[in-house]
């Protein structure tokens, strides 16, 4: 059976070269191409490749973050990073024993990496997610009726915990993610502030606080009509934050 390979690079010529090299390899089939990390994650969900050749520096979402999202999939493909030069990123791969290729890529090296990926699959990737080689993600990954949805963190208005899910309210609607609110709070500490045991809101959207007739306090967010209650515990910190706006 042929190995299905997805090529991800933001430079058309770099993709073309990889495609050319792959055509010279045996038992390899090009599943598709993607131009940035976000497209890559979507393409992996759609095309289910065996191997992803992933560039690191790309606009919108970089390769390291894309690899992290991909690692969360059921049956993830093996990821082989391709990079021109990046000391920090190279150090990260080495620490996790992931394979990487440096550009311009040699055909023999590519062949060997594909061979290895075919034999060992992608077991190492799971570690990467926990080790946090990426400081924080630019997107959250959710599934809606089996389809992959990527929400840019910059578009998120607020996060509401419900049972073991978190509901992500963003400019274009709402989706469920299977993550803990506390973990999201830690990862995006600069971006969101906690207003209640079950709720984080985007700092930059926070516009003020209102008091209802029965004395409860609500946070107001720009562009959001929902009422979000502020708990007694989070009130002092939030007051300070609103005053500093």
């Amino acid at each position: 059976m042929n190995t299905k390979v997805l090529i991800v690079d933001d430079e058309p010529l770099a993709r073309e070269r990889l495609a050319g090299l792959l055509r010279e390899c045996v038992n390899v089939e090009i599943a598709g191409e993607a131009g940035n990390g976000r497209e890559a994650v979507e393409a992996v969900a759609r095309l289910a490749p065996d191997v992803v050749l992933l560039d690191i520096r790309m606009p919108l979402m970089d390769g390291l973050e894309a690899a992290r999202h991909i690692a969360g999939f059921d049956n993830p493909p093996a990821v082989i990073f391709c990079t021109a030069y990046d000391e920090h990123a190279l150090a990260a791969f080495e620490a996790h024993a992931l394979d990487y290729l440096v550009k311009p890529i040699r055909r023999e090296r590519l062949q060997a990496a594909l061979e290895r990926a075919r034999r060992f699959g992608a077991p190492q990737l799971a570690q990467m997610q926990s080790a946090g080689t990426v400081p924080h993600r630019s997107h959250l990954c959710a599934r809606v009726r089996g389809n992959l949805v990527l929400v840019a963190v910059a578009d998120i208005q607020y996060l509401l915990a419900e049972d073991k899910y978190v509901v992500v309210h963003h400019a274009g609607g709402e989706v469920l993610v299977e993550e803990a609110l506390r973990a999201l709070e830690t990862e995006f500490a600069e971006r969101f502030v906690r207003i209640h045991r079950n709720c984080l809101v985007a700092r930059e959207r926070l516009s003020g606080l209102t008091r209802s007739a029965d004395g409860r306090i609500f946070a107001q967010l720009n562009g959001v009509t929902a009422t979000l209650e502020v708990s007694r515990r989070n009130l002092p910190g939030l007051r300070k934050l609103v005053r500093s706006l």
Binding site: P12, L13, D62, A154
Partner: protein, 364 residues
């Protein structure tokens, strides 16, 4: 004070350095203070006087007295250094100097008093109290001024050597962005089978860029050559980024023969591509516009950039800081680099003196 290592030319205005006053608690500085104090004690001893006591006891008393004053001064300056550092250099030095004089006046008054009470006869007879204090203060004023100047020059020299080494290293790094080299090599490797003629041109362009980057900073170039280099650089990046990189170049107005140091503009354009265009999925336009002003030229480089949330962390400042310091070095206050970082665009404005301005600069 002959040990002062190659002092920089004494100028009227003191440059703003945070540590114009050394740390008097550090051992080398303390040692220097003690050596100077001991030298002073010897000078006092050798100076002709009608003193009849033998040399050794005189040396001992003089040494103890001078060392004691010197160490009290050093401790005071050490403890007050954080407060002094907040003042302007001139005011700080004056304060430190005044402090030393005060310590000496009080110290010698105290010593004189004790000597009179105990009747040891180590200083001067009772009627000469004012003379003793006055002489001590005058000696302190002379030696203190020399010492402060010495430490100031030494610190300044150290700071300069450190800054130079750092600047040299950064310049080396900024000139050859490894990413650019390897990405270009990758582009060329892709082009060889597909479009061999483009590959050939890319190799030529890359060679020109590296020839300029590997040359030395004192080499002279002209504005025309520099703009050519920018064009070569953009040609390479256009191959790599395809339609995502668009260029709007309007520099016909600029004098091509204007002499200038090489690689002053190219790093700014590289920044525009690296931090702007390359970070945008749909790419964008780099605008380069030049115009003549009175006695100067102005070049504006503008690029779109991704919104704050999607911006990759990077060392944006290095090429800018490097270019700024080089402009400062070559043109003084007649050249400038202004940077405006907007929400969705980034604008660099370079102003350099033109031929007329250069003449004015030379005839200063």
């Amino acid at each position: 004070m002959s040990a002062a290592p190659s002092p920089p030319p004494a100028t009227g205005k003191a440059p703003v350095l945070p540590y114009w006053l050394p740390d008097f608690c550090s051992l080398p500085v303390l040692f220097a203070v003690m050596v100077v104090a001991e030298l002073l004690a010897l000078v006092i001893l050798i100076a002709p006087s009608d003193e009849s006591r033998p040399l050794l006891p005189r040396l001992t008393t003089a040494s103890v007295f001078v060392q004691w004053l010197a160490l009290v001064c050093a401790v005071c300056l050490c403890k007050l250094r954080p407060q002094l550092a907040k003042l302007t250099p001139l005011l700080g030095v004056m304060t430190a100097y005044a402090l030393m004089l005060l310590v000496t006046v009080l110290g010698s008054a105290l010593v004189f008093g004790i000597d009179q009470q105990l009747n040891l006869g180590l200083t001067l007879p009772a009627q000469f109290q004012a003379r003793f204090i006055w002489r001590s203060a005058a000696l302190c004023a002379l030696i203190g001024a020399a010492l402060l100047r010495y430490f100031y020059v030494l610190e300044q020299w150290r700071a300069r050597v450190g800054a130079e080494a750092k600047a040299r290293f950064e310049a080396l790094q900024a000139r050859i962005r490894p990413h650019f080299l390897f990405n270009s090599m990758n582009t060329i490797a892709s082009l060889i089978p597909l479009r061999p003629q483009d590959a050939e041109r890319a190799v030529e362009n890359l060679s020109d860029l590296f020839r300029a980057a590997l040359g030395n900073d004192t080499a002279r170039s002209t504005l025309g050559e520099e703009l050519d280099l920018v064009q070569r650089y953009l040609d390479i990046e256009k191959l790599r980024l395809g339609e995502r990189l668009r260029v709007d170049l309007d520099v016909a107005d600029l004098p091509g023969d204007l002499p200038m140091p090489p690689l002053l503009l190219q790093p700014l354009v590289e920044n525009a591509v690296y931090h702007g265009i390359q970070q945008l999925p749909a790419g964008g336009t780099v605008e380069i516009r030049g115009r003549r002003l009175d006695g100067a030229i102005e070049i504006v480089i503008r690029n779109p950039r991704p919104p704050a949330g999607a911006r990759a962390a990077g060392r944006h400042g290095m090429a800018l800081a490097n270019t700024r310091s080089r402009i400062e070095y070559h043109f003084g206050r007649h050249g400038a680099l202004e940077v405006v970082a907007g929400a969705d665009d980034f604008i660099c404005t370079v102003r350099l003196p033109d031929a007329k301005g250069e003449e004015a600069l030379a005839s200063r």
